[in-house]
């Protein structure tokens, strides 16, 4: 959100050259050269904590407070009557069990895969949703104006938090990790239901003339990898796309102010930019919910396809 303000301060190069870099800087992970916490290399892999890793931890802590602890406490109670927050959780869990897991996976294996599907849903929902809250920007503003720490101070922890985006699921690596879980879940589900060799045989229908298999087997093998790839791209691109749209629309103010060389035109464009940015933020709330739902729905469908083979 502070994109346009920063652009006005840096004179010299054209605004148009800075806008693109600024937008990418606000949605991508913080640079590995300036990690939040320095950690040593293990087997050539830099384990330093960047902003998206920190956000994953924040999401994990939030999930523990909002889901795991209330559920554990509820299970220990003698009289199992849900109240307050537990009611909401039960509603979500029941909706997922009755309208996603049972129709797709079947009642025999629904108890086995419900924990995975629900974990994916809650994790993605919280990781998506936290990207809509600009609390690091507020912390940065407090830091800058209440404690008078300059923006150039690289050793200040809150200043280093301002680099990079907060939506961990907007990072392709994070969503690829989640999709890899789905990829192996599909194979394990098929193996548990039909046995290891039979699962691979189930990928193609039986009883076709042999020339068909020459085409069909490569297609099915590619399809096996395309599904998690599509899951990765869909979630990450959706999460990044909304932020890019908001920042691009807000950048119009700086671009037009420079183009016509007057601050008044730039400010009057705020009448267009800010309502549009608010509208897109409202749309983002829906996208956050829908994308968490889509990822879990497709995971459930793919796992169900490995278990209930329609040939």
């Amino acid at each position: 959100m502070s994109a346009t303000a920063e652009q006005d301060h840096t004179a010299g190069t054209s605004v148009l050259d800075q806008v693109g870099d600024n937008i990418i800087h606000h949605v991508s992970n913080s640079s590995l050269d300036h990690p939040l916490i320095h950690l040593p290399h293990f087997f050539g892999i830099d384990l330093s904590v960047t902003k998206h890793v920190l956000m994953l931890w924040v999401v994990a802590i939030l999930l523990a407070c909002a889901v795991i602890i209330p559920v554990r406490r509820y299970m220990q109670k003698e009289k199992a009557i849900p109240s307050g927050w537990m009611n909401a959780l039960e509603l979500i869990v029941k909706f997922f069990r009755d309208s996603i897991i049972k129709p797709n996976i079947g009642s025999k294996y629904s108890e086995t895969w419900a924990p995975l599907i629900l974990t994916l849903f809650f994790f993605i929902l919280f990781a998506n949703g936290i990207g809509l809250l600009p609390f690091f920007d507020i912390l940065g503003a407090v830091n800058r104006f209440a404690f008078h720490i300059p923006a150039s101070d690289n050793h200040n922890f809150i200043n280093s938090l301002l680099h990079g985006g907060v939506t961990a699921t907007g990072n392709f690596n994070v969503t690829a990790g989640l999709a890899v879980i789905t990829f192996f879940a599909i194979i394990i589900a098929g193996t548990r239901a039909h046995g290891f060799i039979h699962h691979w045989k189930n990928l193609v229908p039986t009883g076709l003339p042999w020339p068909v298999y020459i085409i069909l087997i490569p297609i099915e093998i590619i399809g096996m990898f395309v599904r998690p790839f599509a899951l990765t791209m869909r979630l990450a691109a959706n999460m990044t796309g909304g932020h890019i749209a908001v920042l691009a629309i807000l950048s119009f103010m700086a671009i037009f102010a420079e183009m016509f060389n007057s601050t008044a035109i730039g400010l009057s464009l705020a009448l267009f930019s800010i309502p549009m940015a608010i509208a897109i933020s409202g749309l983002e709330i829906i996208v956050v919910l829908v994308q968490a739902y889509v990822f879990t729905l497709l995971s459930a469908v793919f796992i169900g396809m490995a278990i209930n083979v329609h040939h």
Binding site: R234, A237, V294, L297
Partner: protein
């Protein structure tokens, strides 16, 4: 002439929007028609429309990602 890739990306983005819009429009029209004829089957129709809708959206998003890659990598 060195910026022709931007021209292609702009054209491609328009084509993506046309394709995805047509697809979603046809899906929504068919679903609305089905629900109008059989209001009691609304839940089933919505469930059946959801999956192809998201697969379609995935294709559009993939195309957009590749368009972005063309811009960033030149």
């Amino acid at each position: 002439m060195e910026n022709l890739h931007l021209f292609g990306v702009g054209l491609g983005l328009g084509l993506i929007v046309i394709g995805a819009g047509l697809g979603i429009g046809r899906l929504a029209a068919a679903a609305a028609e089905g629900i109008a004829r059989q209001p009691e089957a609304a839940d089933k129709i919505t469930g059946a429309v959801n999956l192809p809708l998201f697969l379609l959206e995935g294709v559009a998003i993939l195309a957009e990602v590749f368009a972005l890659l063309i811009v960033l990598m030149k």
